[in-house]
Amino acid sequence: MNWIIWLIPAFPLFGFVINALAVRRERDAGILASVMVGLSFAATIVAMVLLEGSPADAKRLTWTLWEWISAGDFRVAFGLLFDPLTAVMALLITGVGGLIHVYSIGYMHGDVRPVRFFAFMNLFVFAMLMLVMADNLLLLFLGWEGVGLCSFLLIGHYFDRRSVPPGINPSDAAVKAFVANRIGDAAMLAALFAIFANFGTLSFYDNPQLGISGYLDQAVAIAGDTIDLGAFGQLPLIAGITLLMLVAVTGKSAQFPLYTWLPDAMAGPTPVSALIHAATMVTSGVYLIVRNHTLFDQLTSAAPWVLVIGVMTAFIGATAAVAQLDIKRVLAYSTISQLGYMVAAVGMGAYVAGMYHLLTHGLFKALLFLAAGSVIHGIGGHQDMRRMGGLRDDLPTTFRLYVVGALALSGIFPLAGFWSKDEIIAHAWFDARSPLAAIILILTSAITAFYMGRQIGMIFFGRPRDPAMHGHESGATMRWPMIVLAGGAVIGGLINFPGLHWLNSYLRPVLQEPEVVYTLGMGVLATITTLLSAGAGYLGWKIYARDLEPRIRIGKEDPAFRYLGDLWRGMEFGWGLDWLYQRVVVRPYRAASVFLSQVVDREGIDGVLVDGTARGLVRLARGLRLLQSGYVRMYALMFLAGVIILITFFALRG
């Protein structure tokens, strides 16, 4: 029965192929795509039941379709793996993905190219499932590149438009996402090479079917090995590999300093933002670290790079979210910030906590994006929050769902975000003994609540600022997926509720993490955090719904700009990283490209080498033409010369 795990990615792939080749109508495409993801979800449930039946010491379903590559010692299976870690990821991808597909049927109604949209959404689900189900790093990399490709294609869904709100060129945004990810992907490839060079395999675990050994089981054995960097000294092998993986994570999971592509990725349709750029693809970096946790375990205290990157990203993302004026950009920076939490968690070795937050975040951030999409849809495509205001009467359901999502994200008791976020903060304070990290994370949590309060205040409260705007509530295909997700956002904390530890014990075969023992200190910390967040959230709401509300004007600065000035400007522009890249990387690169193409290539290679050779050859040909006079006596003369040469060389040299 293990073959059934192949069905999980096969359904979306099938949906992609049929949609790409055969389907022409919007409605058929949407239904087919949603049904395929639904079937994939069902297959995931069946696989989980099967997984329950497998022995406790080998909680793993594998299925190898064929030997993918076999070249000397380099052997890679085209094999899938289904263990508890994969199970929770697949459940999130197909579950939330399915809801978003259904939502898209309503949201994409009347779009210019809906079939393309649904085809690529299915392709994305397929690639993402390959990523989490691969039994080796190379197949994972295939999925890793596949989701990057789909992200590129879907960000550029409106490639024919010069500009979408808030003034982003979709194809530029798509290219930016792709290029930023290339940096991470190059590091990922280097990590692959390093792993193969040192372990001789890319398989995670032993593959008895093909007799390929796994590298994760050997991680401890080579902990002391080093990589010789020549003049730069020695680097511990594990540190090198994990550092490369971390670079890969900063690209795919939008961490500092590569996160700048994610806010621009909002140029894609909102369901894309919800599925790819909030719930699933951007979390694959976290999955990568958790999957390779035996490598990362070797360096927890010695090299806390992962933790540092995560905490920095969480804080920077949250502050940038405060000053955004576009409804989706707030959520984009918020996603960056929440991904920072997850990366910080796995960086401390709190893998279960990281996965826990990944799952709950997948629920409530998808909800928030869908609700934001519902707002955008309901008011005719506007995304500027300054144009909104007072929408709670027009969009009552969306309003309530948005509040649920915002409370969950802000970590307000007893919603999902409270439990998962506090577990990370508690881990930082008590287990990792890193009060600085914990304090920054608590502060970030408060800022999170503040910007969500601000956003709700600006969208749903106050007066309607655009008299021409009339909102309407979304239809059932859009409402119901949001309601289901809202249910998840409310009770999602249950999956690893203190005392129950469901997620912890479910993932134990993979992660071997002990249960957290809850102390009074944790309760105190959690209380402080949630009170702080609640206060900050109220403050954000109060300022933007009441105090400064009259001074919000369409097209004018945010009123807080008057008080914060350059600090506000910095937050608004994501701390100027884009500005920096533009000057340090993009412009010099463009200048170098222009130089290479116009001077080196056109003048040097084309001019001197290519044209020069051609001119020389043509001249030579003209010379030869003179010999080819058409007179036989000339030919005979040349012939004779040849005879003399041959005889001379044959007879006289011998």
Binding site: V618, L620, R622, Y635, F639, G642, V643, I647, F650
Partner: protein, 494 residues
């Protein structure tokens, strides 16, 4: 009184030859009773004879025998080449069936002469004795002189035939003199006997000088046949003047036969002197490549361009010939394989290319200008595709047969230790790609210069399809051909 003992004749060795020569003689008689309007029948009958000869070769696979006192040999090498000659003959006749009546030069002797030429080629492949090789060379040449001048009222054809005859006679003299010198030095005309004499080192320095001088003159003779520089100068004029199907036969069958005997001569008789002849031939190979490809660069006349290109290809095949004589067994074997593989791929490719020219050629007017190919894709897409496939194959671009041929020739040369020469060959191949791709660009990107109806009859279609499919099949599924040539072992190693 001494009894004259006639040694028993192994008819297996002469079977294919006998069929071709016999059938040609029979056709000559039959032609007397066929009215002029039905001359076509002779063409079909000739194809039947060719097919019969090819089928007769199948049970002979694996035979390794000689007869007529070791003058004629049948081995895997000659059998493979015989099949190649028969294939090129069949395709040439198929192409001619449409061409000759269209040009008003259809006479039944044409088909008979083509069959005699084929017999000459087979003699060159099977000959194990210098006399037989000379016989084959002369038979092939004389028939081809006639065929070249076959388009009788057309002055270019007459001129080409004349030039070919003069240069051929010139070359023939050198060959005979060379054979005499070789006989004088070794006392034998049998290739293997000469090789063994050399291996025993039983020659005085004087005799060895005679031997090498004689060898040089024999090489001159074959070099003329394969259009090796500087004995190539007849080729552009003759190729241009000859009726186009004859040009096709000249460029593939005649060239392949020349290489067949050159290779056998060098490997069986002269392998011991590889150190002497390899560098000289390598230099001539490079010269051939340069002359052929650079000459082709500036041609506006496609037929003449193909003539130069076929000179260039002789250079590549020479790489394989040189490697075949290498003292290193692996390189030597690879050399033999590469020559055969290249010849197979090149035969189909060139016939296809000339077939397209034939299809374009209307009555009484040539359509060989670059401009005549312009926009062919819009006028005749299948013709354009066939031509494009052939051009890519000539340029050595996968997935065509020409790619594998080049790959094998270059690896053989590399294995034989001719590193630099290989590099030069690769660079020149890149230059050559220019003029081949220019034709492709003309066909697919340029606007048609003029609109002309292009009637094609079935035989031409079949011939063209066979040639093009051959190129593609060799490109996509090269293993059967590679397997075939890998079974061919030549010379002292055999």
């Amino acid at each position: 009184m001494t009894e004259i003992i006639i040694p028993p004749i192994d008819w297996r060795v002469a079977a294919q030859l006998s069929i071709i020569f016999g059938w040609a003689s029979v056709l000559l008689v039959i032609a007397l009773f066929v009215p002029r309007s039905r001359t076509r029948i002779i063409g079909y009958l000739a194809i039947v004879g060719v097919i019969v000869a090819a089928v007769a070769g199948i049970p002979l696979w694996g035979v390794n025998a000689e007869t007529f006192s070791g003058m004629l040999r049948l081995d895997a090498y000659s059998l493979t080449l015989n099949w190649l000659f028969l294939a090129s003959t069949a395709i040439t006749i198929a192409l001619s069936l449409d061409y000759l009546p269209r040009q008003g030069i259809e006479r039944s002797e044409y088909y008979v002469l083509v069959l005699f030429a084929t017999g000459g080629m087979m003699l060159l492949a099977q000959g194990a004795d210098l006399i037989i090789l000379f016989l084959g060379l002369e038979l092939l040449s004389i028939v081809l002189y006639v065929l070249t001048g076959f388009a009788y009222p057309r002055i270019a054809s007459e001129e080409a035939g004349m030039k070919y005859l003069l240069i051929g006679a010139f070359a023939g003299g050198f060959v005979v003199f060379g054979i005499a010198l070789l006989y004088g030095a070794t006392g034998s005309m049998n290739l293997r006997a000469i090789g063994e004499t050399l291996a025993r080192q039983a020659l005085t320095p004087e005799e060895r000088t005679y031997l090498l001088a004689g060898a040089a003159l024999v090489v001159v003779g074959f070099g003329y046949k394969v259009a090796m520089a500087p004995f190539h100068m007849w080729a552009p004029d003759v190729y241009e003047g000859a009726p186009t199907p004859v040009t096709g036969l000249l460029s593939v069958g005649s060239k392949a036969a020349g290489f067949a005997s050159l290779l056998r001569f060098l490997v069986e008789a002269l392998a011991g002197e590889w150190q002497i002849w390899a560098p000289v031939l390598a230099a001539l190979a490079i010269a051939t490549l340069a002359v052929g490809n650079i000459g082709a660069l500036t041609q506006q006349n496609v037929k003449r361009m193909l003539a130069y290109s076929s000179i260039g290809h002789a250079g590549y095949i020479l790489f394989g010939v040189i490697a075949a004589g290498a003292t290193d067994g692996v390189a030597g074997q690879r050399g033999v394989e590469s020559v055969l593989l290249y010849l197979i791929a090149y035969t189909f490719t060139n016939l296809g290319a000339f077939g397209v020219l034939i299809a374009l050629e209307q009555r009484g007017e040539a359509a060989w200008d670059m401009g005549d190919l312009a926009g062919l894709w819009n006028r005749r897409p299948w013709l354009a595709i066939a031509m494009a496939v052939c051009m890519l194959s000539l340029a050595g671009i996968p997935p065509t047969g020409g790619f594998w041929g080049k790959l094998y020739v270059f690896t053989a040369a590399w294995l034989a230790g001719m590193g630099w020469i290989t590099v030069i060959g690769v660079i020149i191949a890149a230059v050559a790609a220019f003029y081949y791709l220019r034709i492709v660009a003309q066909m697919f990107m340029a606007e048609p210069a003029r609109e002309a109806p292009l009637p094609m009859d079935r035989a031409l279609r079949v011939g063209l399809t066979l040639a093009t499919l051959g190129v593609l099949i060799l490109g996509f599924i090269p293993t059967p051909a590679i397997d075939l040539v890998q079974r061919v072992v030549l010379g002292v190693r055999g």
